[in-house]
Symmetry: C2
Subunit: 351 residues, 2 copies
């Protein structure tokens, strides 16, 4: 189990926390469930679970304070006992995840003042378990795309590629996909968030595949743009430009660098080539239990990089009526610089 660092107590002015979000409960206490709470104060931690999780949690954490609460009333009774015992006068609730209804109900029922807190910052720096989980999620994703490449051909629809890729990742040991896989072919490639559709992939078209999978609840998030046959010279040039932007960003990723400067390094390459307006999104985002976490490689971001952060490097160019290219890898900030967790050919693959 992990503890909430002192910084969060000081910044929020709370002397305790009721952790309710699935991602933060899993991070702190290994509990991946929508129900139940993790209660924290500086001296103590207590996990409230229902009957579905009690036996498993108790056997995994015999030294910890796991309490079986069959219903809402039992949960509230335990929460108020914890508040009294730990002399908590102000407790933090996750106002960025609890619904308005749930927040109001919880703050009405507790015997102290409530304050809304954002605990996501806890998860910015990954430890070795998290890094190894994400490394494995990257490996499974890359191996799976490699395995299905021979099956991708003109005449097949985008959804078929999506279905085969998800099936293969799960067969190779993933829990499930990280998010709905994007397969955007031909003119669809111009839409960064296009879903895999019934569109039939044509000869000599680019296909952008943005996908990933989960291992131990941790995500990978990778994009490759491949070509069925041979694409036009213009698309080739755009591909090489996106790859240069990707490389330029990689060279700047190290502890102490500003997230905004990493974004700028990639954006400069694309802007100088005159395609700046066709790169409409951030360069990248953190990844972890959620497929999108903070901080981001966003223009102007003053966030500093630290060893153990994992972010995506994903420049893209999208031109309506022509198509699009995106190349994305997951990058670990190391003591010396950075390391790509995803290892898959980055030059244009022409099938």
């Amino acid at each position: 189990m992990r503890r909430i660092n002192r910084e969060f107590y000081e910044r929020s002015g709370a002397d305790g926390f009721i952790v309710s979000s699935r991602q933060n409960k899993y991070y702190l206490a290994g509990l991946y469930s929508s129900r139940g709470y993790v209660l924290c104060c500086q001296d103590e931690m207590e996990v409230l679970v229902d009957g579905r999780y009690y036996a498993e949690m108790k056997s995994r954490y015999p030294q910890e304070n796991i309490v079986l609460c069959p219903d809402h009333a039992a949960m509230m009774h335990e929460i108020n006992a914890f508040i009294r015992r730990s002399r908590i006068s102000r407790i933090g609730l996750e106002g960025n995840y609890l619904t308005y209804h749930a927040y109001q109900k919880l703050s009405d029922e507790i015997d102290c003042e409530a304050v809304s807190v954002d605990l996501d910052g806890l998860r910015k720096i990954k430890d070795s378990f998290e890094i190894e989980s994400m490394r494995k999620a990257c490996r499974i994703a890359c191996d799976s795309l490699q395995q299905i490449l021979p099956a991708i051909h003109a005449g097949m629809c985008e959804k078929e590629v999506e279905n085969l890729l998800v099936f293969t990742m799960k067969k190779n040991g993933a829990q499930k996909e990280s998010f709905d896989v994007i397969v955007a072919s031909g003119l669809h490639g111009a839409f960064p968030h296009a879903k895999a559709s019934d569109r039939v992939i044509g000869e000599n078209e680019l296909v952008t595949i943005d996908y990933g999978c989960r291992v131990n609840e941790y995500c990978s998030d990778i994009t490759r743009t491949i070509c069925i046959g041979h694409c036009s010279e213009e698309l080739h040039r755009i591909y090489d430009m996106v790859l240069s932007a990707h490389d330029a960003a990689l060279k700047t990723i190290r502890p102490g660098a500003l997230c905004g400067d990493v974004d700028a390094a990639a954006r400069k390459v694309i802007e100088e080539a005159g395609y700046g307006k066709y790169f409409p999104h951030n360069l990248g985002h953190s990844i972890g239990i959620e497929d999108h976490e903070e901080p981001c490689f966003a223009p102007g971001s003053q966030e500093l990089l630290f060893p153990g952060m994992i972010l995506s490097d994903e420049p893209g160019i999208y031109i309506e009526g022509l198509g699009g290219v995106r190349i994305e890898d997951d990058v670990l900030v190391t003591e010396e610089g950075c390391e790509m967790l995803s290892d898959f050919e980055r030059k244009l693959i022409e099938l």
Copy 2:
């Protein structure tokens, strides 16, 4: 597009609504997106979307008021213009879906009073498009299980069954699974919410498969418990008891019946056989854009059934150290009585 009935205005005391949840935006305006808003008052409806959805929405609904809002500031500007133009003094926000943070921000930024409302009741009664979508989602789910039955065998793990079933449903035209498929074999069957795991399915074991898929965003939700080989006489007896409970409930489903009475009809069969304490959940729940909606077949529920409601009928018996059985079908309330949308052998299948 659909309108919010007068009843919701009267009950909430609001003279307008800002609809923000994906499910209610899709229901009212065909917009399946986490971003954007549907604004409603008694005379008018307006849909605010970003650049990803504008062209598609405009072409689908040329007569409707679709407004392109590239960012948050533009959304707020339009919302306040709508409030002024429609002379709204009190507007309903979806406090059961908006996070506490988002609710506070929105209510701070609007030029009128905010009140928390629950709009899910809008979706209780399904129209013909919704019914046909769910009928198709049921058909694909049933056909897919039928197709993979020959491939299920002892020695295969639960996750392999899950993966093959999801792959087959998508191949047969489903958008995706409705929820994480449950495959619970042998002793795992005693846990109603067991996830598909690495557990290897043994000879002469029961396997409970609780699954479904989406068509036009509408879910199916079906459970079958099958046997690999031959199971014990006791499990056979339990299976027949669950099937009798399922049938007893079906006989009571008709317009005007109370949801609690449908639950009671099934529960009576199981209680009279002395297994009441092994049936720890509600008999069923409504299904639609979400896999769990209101109302439920819950003990004591005073909710009335109306034609067009679709609920699951899913009695189950779970005994630790022995295993479990659940049989679930999706049932449409018709003018005369009810109709099962899922059509799959309900007698015990022994593979």
